[in-house]
């Protein structure tokens, strides 16, 4: 899952820009590249360390951190136009969907379940909901009296039941005028239908088209028929019913090919009528119905939903998250600056440059990190960092010195409250210091969290791209 977060372009453009600035201070590109790489390795190794102060362990026994993580992702896409209550609703749904796809009781390697999303335009966001099982849109009139809580014997066809016999090949068939091949095929299809009825099949689903006569025959025998299901739903439906699709028309369908579906009912969402199928027992398939007022916002919501799903799944591989709100960036920046200062002489010797050159490179790198945090502020305010934990704080444009002395409230990630009295603005010089970890178990929980995997990857890719841009010696413009 290659996802470069939106922070990446920022680091990416800032680094070469700042390096261009640094070039005025006589920092060679090749050296800048080496220093950037060194700083990056400082960052990544620090983030992997156990005592890393900007990483939060994700505890799967409580949904709090997962909720925060999902909430941060959803808030980061303002084009969805969600209110606070709607954000909370969607993130709760996302976490629920995530938890439902993890099978509870299977030892050994687990296969994650699936969440199918269905979008409905024109309904309020708060009508979005999660359902266990599958919701399949139907256009046919479905007799409500058929809905029952009993188990329904189900068959899935992955081949066309329209009688086209595509598997015979591309050649032409010439038939005697007295011979009606279509009728022969239809007879064969009805033969199949007869077997289904005999085997007491109650639900017949086909990926492709079913011949109308066969449909009519099956319906008249009380079988619920669904056609044109499409490729995408075949796999979840197979999992749900606990069976595999059938594609032969001539052989007898083995009894093992029949599955079971429970609680067939219809649900009405706006103008969409949907058939709700549920699994008999635990099957890790669920459906999220996403609603929004218009098409554009709905599309955005769908994208956000998928991102949230991805990010939550990534936590299974790496159960940690990073502090959001720019705090990770300022913290890393302070850490790199401090570390660089500490080991300037030996690292500079390793890179074959003077310590001053090395420190200049480090400064440029840190400023690029600060830039990421600063770019979070859109309302004309300025960004500050405390000189104790090196967290990120925003200062509104009309705040005075006294206001700052009086405290700035909470930091970007919501973990630190006004603990320090010393501040520095992010675009100013400050003496290096070692960012202190937060002591003990503060009762505060972070309010903004970013995906660990995505952010670390973004940082790495951004620095690599910046280095690439620094390596360009010649630009050829092709004007044809």
């Amino acid at each position: 899952m290659s996802r470069v977060e939106k922070k990446a372009p920022s680091v990416c453009t800032d680094l070469p820009l700042n390096n261009a600035e640094a070039r005025r201070h006589e920092l060679r590109e090749s050296l800048a590249i080496k220093v950037n790489k060194h700083c990056l390795s400082l960052c990544t190794s620090y983030l992997q360390r156990d005592d890393c102060a900007c990483r939060v362990k994700i505890d799967f026994s409580s949904s709090q951190n997962l909720m925060t993580l999902a909430g941060s992702i959803i808030s980061s896409k303002p084009a969805c136009l969600l209110t606070e209550a709607e954000k909370l609703h969607i993130s709760t749904m996302a976490v629920r969907a995530f938890l439902q796809t993890i099978p509870c009781s299977s030892p050994g390697p687990v296969t994650l379940g699936q969440t199918v999303t269905v979008t409905v335009r024109g309904l309020p966001v708060l009508d979005s909901a999660m359902f266990p099982g599958l919701l399949v849109e139907t256009h046919d009139d479905f007799n409500q009296t058929d809905s029952s809580s009993e188990l329904l014997r189900t068959v899935l066809f992955s081949t066309s039941l329209a009688g086209d016999l595509a598997e015979l090949g591309d050649g032409t068939i010439e038939a005697d005028p007295n011979l009606d091949t279509d009728l022969q095929i239809l007879d064969q299809l009805l033969e199949l239908g007869k077997q289904l009825v005999e085997d007491e099949v109650r639900l017949c689903v086909c990926q492709k088209v079913i011949h109308p006569v066969l449909q009519q025959y099956l319906r008249s025998h009380g079988v619920v028929v669904m056609e044109r299901l499409g490729m995408a739903l075949m796999e979840p439906l197979g999992t749900l019913a606990g069976t595999q699709p059938v594609a032969t028309l001539h052989a007898r369908i083995p009894s093992t090919a029949y599955g079971r579906v429970k609680n067939l009912s219809t649900k009405q969402f706006g103008f969409k009528t949907m058939l709700h199928l549920q699994a008999d027992g635990e099957a890790a398939v669920c459906t999220a119905v996403l609603c929004h007022r218009n098409e554009t916002m709905l599309d955005e919501l769908k994208v956000v939903w998928r991102k949230t799903e991805d990010v939550l799944r990534l936590t299974l591989k790496e159960p940690s998250a990073l502090l959001g709100g720019g705090c990770t960036e300022t913290h890393l920046s302070a850490y790199v600056k401090h570390k660089g200062q500490q080991e300037a002489s030996e690292t500079a010797a390793g890179l074959r440059c003077s310590p001053a050159e090395f420190l200049l490179g480090v400064k440029v790198f840190c400023r690029s990190l600060d830039m990421v945090a600063r770019s979070l502020e859109h309302d004309g305010g300025s960004s500050a960092m405390d000189l104790n934990h090196a967290h990120h704080w925003t200062v509104s444009a009309n705040a005075s010195e006294e206001d700052m002395a009086g405290g700035l409230g909470l930091c970007g990630c919501g973990l630190v409250e006004n603990s320090s009295t010393e501040w520095t603005f992010l675009n100013t010089e400050y003496a290096e210091f070692c960012p202190a970890p937060l002591l003990g178990d503060s009762c505060r929980k972070p309010t903004v969290l970013d995906s660990f995997t995505a952010k670390v990857n973004a940082l790495q890719v951004a620095v690599e791209t910046a280095n690439l841009a620094l390596d360009v010696r010649y630009v050829i413009k092709d004007v044809n």
């Binding site: 080496k34 598997e167 591309d170 005697d176 595999q244 059938v246 790495q460 690599e464 010649y474 630009v475």
Partner: protein
């Protein structure tokens, strides 16, 4: 009558110099990337000489001839495309200088343009003669003793890594060199056939490279890695995954499992003559294909097969029946991946109409889905068998921040393997390869007879001595080869006509390479030259010894390079120069030029895509 145009030497030189100016920015250890931007908004970043040159839109046919020669050379040896242009430019510059200076000393050639025009091909022929007759001996006597041979056992050690690292230094950003060379080394080690020549495993890798790597964009280079077995770049067509039982039994299909009754053009006549019998029903035929499919699946089940690989897309029925029989199916596997799989597993693919027997079943130690860059592929690993126990098959996953970058790393690794293949070419084939190289570079040029090569080989004064470089012969990089060879070239002050001798021209051209390497500080150039010259005069202290003991001396910093590649480079450059100088006239015929340019672009595009060829 189409307009014709004389082609003065100056013009040729101008063209090659323009190419040189582009390539020079990415030449040598201090070189960087070249960024191409198009009006369409596309951008390409590259440091590979061949890539840069083929991305240029060249109007002049001669420039295209040169680029084509470069391309063919680097295709054969994997290395030296930038040095090619550099050498060619300085060689032409030397010839141009010599002909323009000519009149002051020469009586035979007058002042006239015509004489100048005649002098250039004269030099060219002489050069070709010199290079094709004496160059191998010169290198063998004067250069090779200062290098040494890397055996494949050494490969994991210092020198093999150094050779690769110096190659990558000319192709990718400095910070990634060591990582990529480590990765390549590791891959070569795993693919090493213990009993065979290293050349064979390099050849195998080079042939199967397209099937052996997976590009993944959006990740840092440091995520590149080797993974066990082979990656089949397709997903499972069946939802169920292969069972955990070991070994996994697999069958390869090259055709449909369900027989196709009617191919295109066939006609099935139904019901003519006879009455309506069961046999005349269309359903009868369809049932027959289904039954034969069922019998195939039953056969597979009785053999315990749980994985099917297919070159084609199977019918719905085949997929469904395989799923019900708990077999996994992978469809549409590309030809090259299938051929690699067949080679590694030693299985016989099932073709149309043959019955499945034990020889069609291979055993795998595992088969599992693998997620690489958002795509799900199938990873297979091979069981230990007498055939595969020699090697430890592995695939390369190459990551880069963007698609263009990933491609650049892939090209670099592929060319590195190609370079190693050239370096380790066994002795007995070197003669034929040399002439193959000749043929290749000649093909692109307009009109050229290849006879000089063979004539001069026959005319050699000292019998049948062939070009003999031990496989794996390397020499410290950083201009050592050029210094040594330029010193060794015979240096008569001038020939009978008062023109400078061709060997002098070549020597001067060669020196331009180290001059360019040390262009950022001329002092270093002189230092390097003095150091090498003093070593030659004082043979009691050859630096090759220092290298073998892997004590990093001052020269080792610069890395290593292959003598064979260098030799072939000079051959190719001189041949290209000869062909360029022999062109008298360029005829502009509108249509012909148009098709030529079109052909050229198509050709180079096809060639970059299709790596397996050649």
């Amino acid at each position: 009558m189409p307009p014709s145009e004389r082609l003065p030497l100056e013009q040729v030189l101008e063209i090659v110099s323009a190419l040189e100016a582009v390539v020079l920015r990415s030449f040598g250890p201090e070189g960087g990337q070249v960024l191409f931007t198009r009006d369409t908004g596309q951008a390409m970043l590259s440091r590979s000489g061949t890539c840069i040159l083929s991305a240029l839109h060249l109007e002049h046919p001669l420039a295209r001839v040169v680029v084509e020669s470069v391309w063919k050379h680097s295709r054969g040896t994997g290395d030296g495309s930038k040095t090619f242009i550099l050498l060619l430019a300085s060689l032409l510059r030397g010839i141009s200088k010599a002909t323009s200076r000519g009149p002051s000393a020469s009586h035979a050639y007058g002042f006239t343009e015509a004489a100048k025009a005649a002098a250039a091909p004269y030099f060219a022929n002489k050069l070709l003669e010199l290079v094709s007759s004496d160059l191998d001996d010169l290198i063998a006597v004067n250069v090779v003793p200062y290098g040494f041979c890397v055996s494949l056992e050494d490969f994991t050690t210092h020198s093999g890594r150094l050779l690769l690292a110096s190659f990558f230094h000319t192709r990718v950003s400095h910070v990634h060199c060591s990582y990529l060379s480590e990765l390549t080394c590791e891959m070569l080690n795993r693919w090493k056939y213990k009993s065979d020549l290293p050349y064979i495993s390099f050849q195998f890798l080079s042939d199967n490279f397209p099937a052996l790597h997976t590009p993944v964009s959006g990740f840092p280079v440091s995520s590149s890695r080797l993974i066990e077995g082979q990656v089949i770049h397709r997903d499972f067509a069946t939802p169920c995954l292969p069972s955990k039982q070991q070994p996994v039994k697999v069958v390869v299909f090259t055709d449909y499992m369900q027989p196709i009754l009617l191919s295109t053009g066939d006609v099935l006549k139904l019901g003519y003559g006879g009455g309506v019998t069961p046999e005349s029903s269309i359903v009868h035929f369809s049932a027959w294909t289904e039954r034969s499919l069922e019998s195939v699946i039953a056969e597979l089940q009785s053999l315990g097969v749980s994985l099917l690989l297919s070159a084609v897309k199977q019918s719905d029925a085949a997929v469904a029946l395989a799923t019900q029989a708990h077999m996994s199916l992978v469809e549409c596997v590309s030809e090259e991946e299938l051929s690699l799989f067949v080679q590694l597993s030693g299985v016989t693919p099932v073709s149309r109409g043959c019955t499945i027997q034990l020889e069609h079943v291979a055993a795998l130690s595992f088969c599992r889905p693998i997620l690489l860059g958002g795509h799900r592929y199938v990873q297979v690993a091979f069981c230990e068998s007498p055939k595969s126990s020699k090697v430890n098959p592995c695939s390369l996953v190459i990551c880069g921040p963007g698609e263009g970058q990933t491609d650049q790393y892939i090209c670099a690794i592929r060319d590195a393997v190609c370079m190693l293949m050239t370096t380790w070419e066994p002795k007995h084939t070197s003669e034929t390869t040399a002439s193959r190289g000749t043929l290749q570079s000649d093909k692109g040029t307009a009109s050229l007879d290849m006879t000089p090569t063979f004539q001069s080989t026959a005319n050699k004064p000292y019998g049948l001595k062939k070009c003999v470089f031990e496989p794996g012969c390397v020499i410290p990089a950083g201009g050592t080869f050029e210094f040594l060879l330029s010193r060794a070239l015979p240096n008569p002050s001038s020939d009978t006509n008062g023109l400078p001798s061709v060997s002098q021209l070549l020597a001067n051209a060669l020196l331009s390479v180290p001059r360019q390497i040390y262009s950022h500080s001329p002092k270093l150039f002189l230092q390097a030259q003095t150091r090498i010259m003093s070593l030659v005069q004082n043979p009691s202290n050859p630096f090759s010894l220092g290298l073998k003991e892997s004590t990093p001396g001052p020269m080792v910093d610069l890395g290593l390079e292959s003598v064979t590649c260098k030799y072939q480079l000079i051959l190719a450059v001189v041949q290209c120069a000869t062909s360029v100088l022999r062109v008298d006239t360029v005829l502009h015929t509108r249509t012909a030029l148009h098709t030529q340019s079109k052909k050229h672009t198509i050709f180079s595009r096809a060639s970059t895509e299709d790596e397996a060829e050649d």
